[in-house]
Symmetry: C3
Subunit: 155 residues, 3 copies
């Protein structure tokens, strides 16, 4: 249990550091290919509604998203700061670890305004077969229903 | 030290996941019977005032609280998201581990409003004698003095 | 990796507990002497501007700061609550561990007002040669540009 949690903790720490440091081009490299990445409201998960606000199932799709963000220059005007806690290993089979964790994202705008932007739970499936663990699935289940139109950065 | 912290970390992760996921009926099962659970403002702790805003010393009392919450349907209108960090083992004796940790609670309302609701420190005594560690004591020492009247959910 | 992270996690947990509990006099004892402690905005780090909002390179300077804070009685009117997460070991050499971690600070005012005060990243160099690990460097790189004039407490 401890080793799996330590591994997931480090993977998530590297993952959020890349996003918070504006190293967006590294973001797709944290995933297997194919993969599953989605951002979905908690109420949809509860009601078994499959639709989220973002979905990707390959590195190519994740790379596309990064290119769009770079073109739109959105990252110039805002930054994120992630806090991840309470990592829980919910399953282990062969080279796959299922883990969950709570997260908060603080958004910092260019004018210095800082606010709590999103809270929720990561539901991850981590592939540990390679030299570096990778996300085979990362479902970002968020609590707050009102989606900010600026929601564009990876979470 | 590491093993005890890992154990307390996992226990708190399971505990907050149960609350945040609305599995309130599981809440009392995280405690020994008898137990001590209380929510108390930091200033009362500093001034040695024993009164908090909630106190229970048995699973029956915790179960009563859950039943009240279910009847009042409060959980329909709000959710919590806990963040727990900086777990510190402050004592170990036989089958008891004393631990402290910082926490934040974000509250998400039905209309999507999300805000920082409470910050504070868990002061836990964990009984490790059984198959699953349990809270013998959980003192929720919170920082913010203004108590929201909706304070009703477990923290 | 796990051992170094556990060590840094415990050091930071003790460090923030001392600050949050108003045991400011202990704050300098978490550092080597000489040391490097600074609070610096993220944009200055990115632009290689060396100037931060606070700098100290010895325990004497840190002690001076504590004395000033005590004289000004600032700590009577506010408290902090730190959350530290996603600790990442970025280097290890002999008795030095380089580590980074995300943090949030919530500030609680005397009147009960509580708000998100600062977010950012610790960039630490930890000296592990002695009986107790100490910060040889602690750089507090914060995200929010607008500095509150009450910024005075250790972070």
């Amino acid at each position: 249990m401890t080793d799996a949690r330590s591994l997931v903790e480090t993977l998530n720490a590297r993952y959020v550091a890349a996003i918070d440091d504006d190293r967006l081009e590294e973001w797709p490299t944290f995933f297997t290919d194919p993969c599953r990445y989605e951002i979905i409201p908690a109420e949809n998960v509860e009601q078994n509604l499959p639709l989220g606000v973002f979905f990707a199932d390959s590195r190519a799709m994740l790379n596309d998203r990064v290119q769009s963000l770079r073109r739109a220059n959105i990252y110039e005007s805002q930054r994120y700061r992630h806090v991840v806690s309470s990592i829980l290993i919910v399953g282990e089979e062969q080279n796959l670890v299922r883990a969950e964790a709570n997260f908060l994202v603080v958004r910092i705008m260019l004018d210095g305004d800082m606010r709590l932007f999103m809270s929720g739970r990561y539901r991850d499936v981590v592939d540990t077969s390679g030299a570096t663990p990778l996300f085979r699935e990362k479902r970002v289940v968020f609590d707050n229903r009102r989606i900010d139109t600026l929601l564009a950065l990876p979470v």
